[in-house]
């Protein structure tokens, strides 16, 4: 069974540009989560999809961030326009159920905004 995969693994962009991160969850996992770790700080929740619906997007920092999950399969997280403070590692995780079940993580996308 393939794990959670994220693309790209690294991205370096200039301030003001647009970047789109992709996450392919494990097949059959309805729950998909995005998290972010900014340098030196803890991993923070961004949002949670159940299938194609946004269940909780309370962690999205501002309207420069747009997440989608078309057809309840893969998800994209777009940052437009990127700012320096958006730099960090973006993690995606998926789980079959919600509370209490194991969340499987991708390797993360390291985003650097210069």
């Amino acid at each position: 069974e393939a794990g959670v995969t994220q693309f790209p693994s690294h991205s370096v962009i200039e301030k003001g540009q647009t970047v789109t991160l992709r996450c392919d969850p494990i097949s059959g996992h309805d729950n998909l989560y995005w998290y972010r770790r900014v340098m030196g700080k803890e991993i923070k929740f961004l949002l949670h999809f159940v299938k194609e619906s946004k269940q909780d997007e309370s962690g999205m920092p501002n309207n420069r961030f747009l997440a989608e999950r078309t057809g309840g399969t893969y998800s994209t997280l777009k940052v437009q326009p990127a700012e320096l403070e958006d730099s960090g590692v973006y993690f995606c995780a998926s789980s079959r159920q919600g509370l209490g079940t194991e969340a499987f993580f991708g390797q993360g996308t390291r985003l650097t905004v210069v």
Binding site: Y33, E42, I43, Q55, G98, L99, G100, A103, F105, G106
Partner: protein, 117 residues
């Protein structure tokens, strides 16, 4: 709301020895889960162990065990017979039940564990 705190940025242990990583949390919920995740260098995070808040018995997974002190809101991880492959960043995390927040993890700051041969 929920907070998770790991007060040990770094820990080290000799191979075959035992080490304990500390974690405290705070929540007003009665239904919650606690987790320890491990992230080896340049690899993805994997679940080490999980504890349901309503269970009094401490969870155990082979060489990994937890000391869950509900009243003190403490959730430490003990690694016995440490191996070189245990070297990683360890994250303590919690998830509360109910509402729209189910399954959402709140993480601690992480503890880097070094294992010396």
């Amino acid at each position: 709301a929920q907070t998770v705190t790991q007060s040990q940025p770094e820990m080290s242990v000799q191979e075959a020895e035992t080490v304990t990583l500390s974690c405290t949390y705070d929540t007003s919920e009665s239904d919650y889960y606690l987790f320890w995740y491990k992230q080896p260098p340049s690899r993805q995070m994997i679940l080490v162990i999980r504890q349901e808040a309503y269970k009094q018995q401490n969870a155990t997974e082979n060489r990994f065990s937890v000391n869950f002190q509900k009243a003190a809101k403490s959730f430490s991880l003990k690694i016995s017979d440490s191996q070189l492959g245990d070297a990683a960043m360890y994250f303590c995390a919690g998830a509360i039940g109910g509402g729209t927040s189910y399954g959402k993890l709140t993480f601690g700051q992480g503890t880097i564990l070094t294992v010396h041969p």
